[in-house]
Amino acid sequence: MAEATALLEVHDVSKSFGAVAAVQGVSFPLYGGEAHALVGENGAGKSTIVKMLAGVHRPDTGTLRVNGADVEFAGPADAKAAGIAVIYQEPTLFPDLSVAENIAMGNQPLTRLRQIDRKAMHATAERLFARLGVHLDPTRPARGLSIADQQLVEIAKALSSEARILIMDEPTAALSAVEVERLFAVVRSLRDEGAAILFISHRFEEITELCERVTIMRDGKHVATEMVADLSVDDMIRRMVGRDLSALFPKQEVEPGEVMLEVSSLSRAGVFRDISFDVRAGEIVALAGLVGAGRSEVVQAVFGVDPYDSGIVKIRGKRLKPGNPRAAMAAGMALVPEDRRQQGLVMDLSIERNVTLPRERKLARLGLLFGGAERRAAAKWTRQLQTKLGRLSDAVSTLSGGNQQKVVLAKWLSTAPQLLIVDEPTRGIDVGTKAEVHRLMSSLAADGLAVLMVSSELPEVLGMADRVIVLREGRVAAVLNRDEATEESVMYAAMGQEAAA
């Protein structure tokens, strides 16, 4: 697979949004039979590259070449016709159509009477799944499929349209370890059939495991394209960040104070059962477990955005009204939710409005707001978190993922909470920002804040937490102290007996 003609070549491509240059003069090739990693901090321009390849954005300058010929995509349909398929982190299937119908969407096989040929459609789906080596029922509706299965349906769809170039934008972010393995097996077999894969991930172990070549970007610019085998993880990080990273998880030792949060026998039918734990001031407690174990559901019930059936939530010994986020906020609780785009931020609103949203009433004078107080508060907190932004009045959607996460943190830290709940605080953000977030959480805890953290990343859990509560299928499977928590002990508890099988 030496320097043959690339299946796809990105050549000196640039793209700006307003005054922000998202991508500047980036070039790299994608070869058939090769998995190519694209890495960089959030805001480095990876997503912009993906959107240009998908035909969503058009490059301002530079060209894309497919099989050596210049192409210009007027829209996603053109990219698809050129054999490019994009698998997003959150697949976009039609939930009420069957799996087979989703796969055939856009090029349904027809009978002679120009009716949709269901038999052929199902046969195609079966054949594709067989080729991918996965077991999915083509007749079942897409609704209720796990994200991992939805991604496989998307991949099958890509195969059905004879895609030769597969672009995967953080496909593993929401997958469990087992699901990641299955996805990788599929990707490897496609690669061996000669497809070119562009793989975006923040997890270096995945990149070293799956990819042959890696392109590193920083601040919209191309830093290097090299063979993965020639680089260590440290090399990659250094080039991404442009500096050496000190300790990745700088958790300070803190003497725990009074009990801040006390959860007893919290239950919600079909979601979680009999959950009890407490968090003390100065402590970081992690909720670990597989995707679907009910971790986010528990913290959302604690904060009151979701209801619960029975149990008690106490904050500083005082019982909290269930299902009432406002009461939780008044009691000093803050929740940085899992889904930044849907729950954490109002993407169309400006940065300042987002930062000040939970405490507009406190900022108002005589019930009135004329922008000044909001602007000052937003400026103060975004500066404190070193958020990279243009204007505070810009829509928050113009920021990169890592900076969006800082805005969510700013939004909640500005409420001066005593208990901070963070759900996947570093999902989909780059190593640099990640380290900043960890340092921030650690220093907040040192100042006496109680932190409850949900995380799927084991190194984060092990590095940060004073205590780890492992959930499995909606129940507490284990409570591990810092010295007991290891990758093995957490994973074993999270997977239960199935791990041994």
Partner: protein, 338 residues
């Protein structure tokens, strides 16, 4: 983190001002100026009074409608609520209630109509479009039950006269006072209070608003109550203006209101829009119709103009963004080629 002035040339940032609401305000002023020069009698004080009276129901109902559409919902029952309160006003009058009793009672009944809408939408979680189409028919039906096809016309002159009259001997219509007062109150609430901020958040992303401690359902519920109360008030003003309480008063008005709100730059999907824009939209719509009527344009043609304006108001912003995008790309390509 300094203010990055837009663009290469360092010109002041015009883009921030070139929004749809400012465009519609400029267009409205333009139409007013041109019409007073070109159309006979348009600029007279008599015509001004008529225009304000025509504009009153649309503008007043457009105020709460703007709030509701900003949160991503809609209230199509407004004109029927108006009709219902108008009928009840006639019925109460026939049953010898004093007008001083009737007016607050009608506003209250409007609010109750809003309570039903709000309960169905936020309490039971039904879609507002379906609910308010239902209550559109229901309230109009009740209006007919109350008054049938008769009319009540003998309201006291000091009230009817006040609604159609002007301040002193001047040309400022009396109804302009409640119009301006309500517009100012609604404008301040929408643009300079925590409630207003939360309305935009709810419309743009109700889930994120909920996660930020905003009481989404409760807020929406009260919007419908306020909308109903305003419709009750407009029902009273309408009845007094024409000295006629009828079950079919204001029929079809909801379309004019929604059209004006959208024309004023409020997004039907919620989360975007401003009250000055909406007021300009109402004035533009009324002024155009008034001018055309003075030019003896037929009623059907008037409808065509209203419809075309509405379609244009949805179409134009899209065209502008597309053209702007293409132009920007071309400029960048050229500067890169150099």
């Amino acid at each position: 983190m300094s203010e990055t002035s837009s663009g290469v040339s360092g010109r002041p940032d015009l883009k921030r001002f070139a929004t749809w609401d400012t465009a519609i305000i400029v267009l409205t002023v333009l139409v007013l100026v041109v019409a007073s020069v070109v159309v006979d009698n348009f600029g007279t004080s008599r015509n001004f009074t008529f225009m304000v009276l025509d504009l009153m129901p649309i503008l007043l109902i457009a105020l709460p409608m703007t709030f509701i559409i900003v949160t991503g919902e809609i209230d199509l029952s407004v004109a029927s609520t108006l009709g219902l309160t108008s009928s009840l006003m006639g019925w109460f009058w026939n049953h010898n209630l004093s007008i001083e009793m009737i007016i607050p009672l009608c506003i209250l009944i409007g609010a109750v109509a809003g309570v039903l809408n709000g309960f169905l939408i936020t309490g039971l979680g039904l879609p507002s479009l379906a609910v308010t189409i239902g209550t559109l028919a229901l309230y109009r039906g009740l209006a007919l039950v109350v008054l049938g096809d008769s009319a009540v016309a003998d309201f006291p002159f000091n009230y009817t006269g006040w609604v159609t009259g002007t301040l002193g001997d001047g040309s400022i219509p009396n109804v302009l006072i409640p119009i301006i007062a309500l517009a100012v109150v609604f404008g301040i609430v929408l643009h300079a209070t925590p409630i207003g901020r939360s309305l935009y958040a709810i419309g743009a992303n109700a889930q994120a608003a909920h996660f930020s401690g905003i009481r989404v359902a409760r807020t929406k519920f009260w919007l419908y109550v306020v909308s109903g109360a305003v419709c009750g008030l407009v029902g009273v003003l309408w009845t007094l203006r024409y000295s006629s309480a009828r079950a079919d008063n204001g029929a079809g008005l909801e379309l004019a209101v929604v059209a004006a709100v959208l024309l004023g730059g409020v997004s039907i999907f919620g989360g975007k829009g401003s009250l000055p824009g909406v007021i300009a939209g109402v004035v533009l719509l009324t002024a155009l119709q008034n001018a055309l009527r003075l030019e003896d344009v037929s009623g059907q043609a008037l409808n065509i103009v209203t419809g075309a304006l509405l379609v244009l108001s949805v179409l134009l912003p899209n065209i502008v963004t597309t053209v702007r995008g293409n132009w920007q790309r071309r400029r960048l390509r050229q500067s890169a080629a150099r």
